[in-house]
Structure formats: structure tokens, C-alpha cells
Amino acid sequence: MDDKVSIGMDSRRITTSQRETTRPFSLKKQSRLGENIIQGFLLFCGVLSMFTTIGIVIVLGSESIAFFRQVSIVEFLTNTVWSPQIDEFGILPLLLSTLLTSTIAMFIALPTGLAAAIYLSEYASRRARSILKPVLEVLAGVPTVVYGYFALKFMTPLLKSVFGEANVNIYNMASAGLVMGIMIIPLVSSMSEDALSAVPRALREGAYGLGATRLETAIKVVLPAGISGIIAAFVVAISRAVGETMIVAVAAGAKPTFTFNPFEAAETMTGHIARISGGDLSYASIDYNSIFAIGLTLFLMTLGLNMISRRLVRRFREVYE
């Protein structure tokens, strides 16, 4: 088969090259060993990321199975007590505090981030942008453990002085949530700004032409046009809040508690994983297996949120292309 093809190709020789050299000149795509090796290495690099995902799924899955052999999934999902010492493994207290801190964070991050995005994309002069955008970028680059310090040493005393020393625990979900909100503002504002900037100029000019003010243009025309991108930003922000570890590990407390009071200390899923794995942990214990069950829950939650967000972004891209 191969021979036939090459003979066929060889017959289409170029006359000029024939005159110069006696050797036949082939236009056939030549297989070069070096190029193939390089391409193989590059392919391996690309595929390595697949192995990462497969690794995460296998690691979380297999350790979780070992855990669910001892604790039923129903108990895991419905019990409101997490206390490994007395064999109580209900994820609800951890999940609840994760959701509470994330909700508080979203109350800060979503409105502020969106308002900042509208300002930067619709109002800001070039000069204002050149000052405000880098500030937000720096805020995004501050390590989360520093935010944890900020929550414990600044936000908690502030909450104590506002709501009363006795009402606010030293470790509490409110301060962790509020600082987490501040941390997530840059993420929301930069993603939302991208969505708003992608709205074509013509739409704005149309609105101005009809006599709309800048605010009316921004709220009634630009915002609806970029809405799916903005919602995508919101979803990513939630996923980021759910997976955030250091702020809650430092400021939210180190005891799983089933409480709706944001001024109480309550450990989140990520905080629990960090605390348990930070100690001297025996690999054979159920404690060790349990953090993987929590990790699996966390992974599935964030993966789901990120997939929703990506689908939304794709939809909003299709509108104007």
C-alpha cells in the first residue's frame, strides 16, 4: 500500500530539480524522526492534564469508597453531627457553614463586583481606569492566608465593636464570609467587565440616539445584553467561595457546629480538611478516609458550578458572533 503511494508520488517529479540533481525529488510528506519525537512529547504534555483529572477522580473516589463502607451515604448526607470521636459522620454541619460563609461573601462580592464592573466599563475615564484596575488586580493577587489574617485581626474586632463583645465569637463565620467577599470582588468585577465590554458599541449608540442617559443605557441595554456572562461570573464566584480554604481555616473556627448564627464559630468543609490533614494523621484511620469523602463532595460541587458557568459563557458568546 505504502509503496504504491510513493511510486505514484515519485512520478510527479519536478523537471527543474531533475536537471540539477540526479536524485529524484519527492514532494511526499516526509516523516522526520526528530519532529515525531517532539510532537509525541508535546502530546504527552497536553494529555498530562487528563491524568490529573483522572487522578483526582480515582484518589477521591477510592478513598471515599473506603469511607462509605463504614458509614452509609444516607447517614453522611443527613446526619447533623460531625464528630469522628463518637462515630458521627454527617456532612450537614460542615456543608451548612460552607454555604453560610459563601452566602455572606456573595452579598459583598456580587453587588460590589458588578457595580465596579459597570463603572469601569461604562463610566470610567482612561485615567481612572489606569488607577482603579491595578488596585483590583493587586487585591486579587493577595494570598488567601493574608486575607485570613485580615479577617481574624481586623474584621473580627470590628464586628465585636459593632455587635457587642458578647454576641460575637472570636472565631466566627461572619468575619470569614465578609473578608472572603472582599477577596472575590476582583474576580466578579473582571469577569463581568469582560462580559460588558463584549457588548457591541452599536447597542450603546442606539440607546444614546434615542435619548437615553448613561445610566439608562448601562442598566437597560448593556447589562441585559451581557447578562449571561455576568451570571457566569457569579457562578464562578460561588464556586471560588465554596472552595476557599485559608480564610475559613484561620477565622471561621475549628469545630463542626450545626448553626445558622453567623457570629458563632463553625468549621467549613475546606477548613475541616485542612485541620485534619494538618495534624499527624494515621493513613489507616476513618478520619483519613472521611476527609476524602468531604473532598469528593467539594469537588463535585465546584465542578458542577464551573461547568454551568462555562455553558453560560458559551451561550453569551454566540449572541454577537
Binding site: G34, Q39, F41, L42, C45, G46, V47, L48, S49, M50, T52, T53, G55, I56, L60, T112, A115, A116, Y119, L120, Y123, A124, L132, V138, G141, V142, P143, T144, V145, V146, G148, Y149, F150, K153, F154, I182, S189, T213, R214, L215, E216, G243, T245, M246, A249, V250, T270, I273, A274, S277, G278, Y283, I291, F292, L298, F299, T302, L303, L305, N306
Partner: protein
């Protein structure tokens, strides 16, 4: 013309009503504009508060009580004494047996000046922090502090202390906040980052090249691309758990260095942490690298192919050199992410108390963010001061990295 005028008259506000309508819409616009602006400035305020809050803890008065008043030890200030004089002070103020034990551990002649100085502080002066104040208090309430010290700690000396200093950078971890430093943590972070780059850079750039230059639009490659995007959103602590099982436990013979003759007991080493960090920053590096490569104009590639270059020759000689500034910028951003990342290191098992410098990839280690976390979690106020100082060190590192990224970007984009 008249009909149009009548239409307008019937449908839209006229005269006074129109003016009021426009004025109220303008007012609404101005109010919301202020709201949007203040939301943006909120970020600026938060950042200033954070910096203020850190700086407030880094400097301030400290009430220290010494076992022996430093002024009585010699007629010159202690830090001006030379080594022999310091040894004399040591000998004169310690019990003979204790001094002999020290001499047996390591003869005085073999100890450096600063080691002897530390010994004098540790064995003779025995400073104890009784109370510390923040920068704000030290600035505005000096009189109150003086009064408090005079009434509560009559023996104590009040000193203005900068918790961050050269000795903070060069001394190892200690359980005494007065003498603790970030040397081991800083070296641990640097080792970890160096090895992370060593692995992550070639693989990240390779994957970016594959996806941009080689991958055709088929199902397999689309899955790889989606997968990378999804990985970028996985919480960092999950990477830590992956690293714990794969690198610390499964690959223990390699990561503990046993296969290379440098056994460190278990897999909780720098290499394990670096490999975990590599997996964490790869998605970011690949996505940034892809953007840089995509920005190289197609005409460059076509010109190269037109001259008969092979695919790899085109990439190596034309695409990569043009994409390099972008790739470097992306790499630096990924590195700054890795330097500040704490959660995966906790899970992979960075130690919190290590006093010896890491001596290679298979050493046990601690890192700056781990140290900050550890110190922040301690209830004693002295630890807040050194946590804040470690934060300053970390932030300065990150800022200088970002400055390098900006300089690189500017320099290369001018040349291009």
C-alpha cells in the same frame, strides 16, 4: 409638520414637565454613578485597610524585662562589643558548669560573632516580652503607655521595635517570638518554587504548543481543552489531597529520596510539594501560554513554511520567540500564585516547626505562607507581630515578581 408636532405634544412631556423629567433622570444618573464609583473605590479602601492593619502590627513599643540590665554588663552598648568581650560577659555572668556545657557543645572559638551575641541574649539577658503595642498606640498614646509601664512593669524597659529586621530574615524559626525568624520558611519557599518551575515550565509550554499548533479540532483535543479549563477551577485543597495520596504516599520511595540515597523518613518533602504545586499551576500556565501563542500573527508562520521550514522549525524559530514575553508573564503570574498558596501545603504536610535550612529537594521543609498561618493561629499577641512581618516579606516577594512581569512585558512589546 403640524401633525408631527401634535403627536409629540400628545405623547411626550413638554415645557416644565419635560424639564423636570430630564432633571430627575439626570439626578438618578448622578446618584447611581456615585454608587458605582464608590463600589470600585471600596476595593481601594479594603486594600489600604489591609496594608494599614499589617503595618500597624509590624512596628510598635515593646515592654521587655531583662534578667540582668544590659547597661550593667559592660560600659559600651552590647552590640558594639567584639567577640572576646562578649565571651567575657558570658563567662562572667553564667554559672561555671553551664558555661562549660556550652563550651563542650561547640567551643567558643568556633562560634561566630552573632552566635556568641545570641548566646549572651539567650543565657544572660533572658529578655521577656511583657506587653506589646501596635504602631497606632505607640504613635498616639505614648503617654498612656509610659504610665502603664511605670505602674505595671516597673522593672521593664520600653523599646520601640521593628518586628521586621535583617535578623528576622536571617534567623530560623523559634518558639520565642522575639527571636523567631523566617529564614527556613523563606528558603523552603524558594526551593519549592525553583523545583516547581523546573517541572511546570516545559510541560506547560509544551501543552500550550500542542493545543495551539498541533491539535486539530476533534473530539479528543476538545476534551483536553475543556478538561484544562475545568482544572483551573478546582479548589487548591483538592490538589493537596491528590498530592498527599500520589506524591507523598504512592511515590514515597521517590519523593522521600530513598531511591537516591537521601532518605528523609517519609514523602512529606520539598519535591512532593513542588509536584503538587506543578499540577496546581499547570492549567493557569497552559491557558496563559495558549493566549501568548495565539497572539503571534499567522503571517509569520506562513512566511516560515513558505521558506520550506518544518513545523517544529517554524515553532522553535518564529512562534516561540515571539510568544516568549507573554509566556514569561504568564509563568510569573502562575509562580506568584504558587508562592502564596497555603492549603495544598498543609495537606501535603509541610512542617510548621523546622530550624535547619532545607539542604536539597528531599528535605523536610516549611514555607512562608505556612509560617504565617501558624503564627496567625496563635492566641498570644506577640505572634500577631511576627505574622504581620512575615506577611510583609511575602507581599514584597509577590510585588517584586509582578514588577518583573510588568518590566518584561514592556521591554519585549517595545522591541516587537
Amino acid at each position: 409638520m403640524t401633525t408631527l408636532n401634535e403627536d409629540v405634544k400628545s405623547g411626550l412631556p413638554q415645557g416644565e414637565a419635560s424639564r423636570r423629567n430630564i432633571a430627575s433622570r439626570r439626578r438618578k444618573g448622578a446618584i447611581w454613578r456615585t454608587i458605582f464609583l464608590s463600589a470600585t473605590i471600596f476595593g481601594l479602601i479594603a486594600l489600604s485597610l489591609l496594608i494599614y492593619n499589617v503595618a500597624n502590627e509590624v512596628f510598635g513599643y515593646v515592654a521587655i524585662e531583662y534578667a540582668v540590665d544590659p547597661a550593667t554588663l559592660s560600659d559600651k552598648p552590647l552590640d558594639e562589643l567584639n567577640k572576646d568581650e562578649l565571651v567575657a560577659v558570658l563567662q562572667g555572668n553564667m554559672r561555671k558548669n553551664a558555661f562549660r556545657t556550652l563550651e563542650n557543645e561547640k567551643p567558643m572559638a568556633n562560634r561566630s560573632d552573632s552566635e556568641v551575641y545570641d548566646l549572651v541574649v539567650e543565657r544572660v539577658l533572658k529578655p521577656q516580652t511583657l506587653e506589646t503595642w501596635t504602631l497606632r498606640d505607640s504613635w498616639f498614646n505614648k503617654a498612656a503607655i509610659d504610665a502603664q509601664v511605670a505602674s505595671d512593669f516597673p522593672e521593664a524597659k520600653l523599646e520601640f521595635r521593628s518586628w521586621i529586621s535583617t535578623s528576622f530574615l536571617t534567623t530560623p524559626m523559634s518558639s520565642d517570638p522575639l527571636r523567631a525568624g523566617v529564614r527556613t520558611a523563606l528558603l523552603g519557599s524558594l526551593w519549592m518554587i525553583a523545583i516547581t518551575i523546573l517541572f511546570a515550565f516545559p510541560i506547560g509550554v509544551g501543552a500550550a504548543i500542542y493545543l495551539e499548533e498541533y491539535a486539530t479540532d476533534n473530539r479528543f483535543n476538545r476534551i483536553i481543552q475543556t478538561n484544562i479549563n475545568n482544572l483551573a477551577g478546582v479548589p487548591s485543597i483538592i490538589y493537596g489531597m491528590l498530592g498527599l495520596v500520589i506524591f507523598v504516599r504512592t511515590l514515597e520511595p521517590i519523593t522521600s529520596g530513598r531511591m537516591f540515597g537521601a532518605d528523609s523518613g517519609n514523602g512529606r518533602t520539598i519535591v512532593a510539594a513542588s509536584l503538587t504545586m506543578m499540577l496546581l499551576i499547570l492549567p493557569i500556565m497552559i491557558i496563559n501560554g495558549q493566549e501568548a501563542i495565539r497572539a503571534v500573527p499567522l503571517s509569520l508562520r506562513q512566511a516560515s513554511y513558505g521558506l520550506g521550514a518544518t513545523k517544529w522549525q517554524t515553532i522553535w524559530h518564529h512562534v516561540l520567540p515571539n510568544a516568549l514575553p507573554g509566556i514569561f508573564t504568564g509563568t510569573i503570574l502562575a509562580i506568584s500564585r504558587a508562592i502564596g498558596e497555603t492549603a495544598p501545603l498543609i495537606v501535603v504536610g509541610a512542617s510548621t516547626f523546622i530550624v535547619t535550612d532545607p539542604d536539597g529537594p528531599f528535605a523536610k521543609f516549611t514555607a512562608l505562607p505556612i509560617q504565617i498561618y501558624n503564627w496567625t493561629s496563635r492566641p498570644q499577641p506577640e505572634f500577631a507581630h511576627i505574622a504581620a512581618s512575615a506577611i510583609v516579606v511575602l507581599l514584597v516577594m509577590l510585588l517584586s515578581l509582578n514588577a518583573i512581569a510588568v518590566v518584561l512585558r514592556n521591554r519585549f512589546s517595545k522591541r516587537g
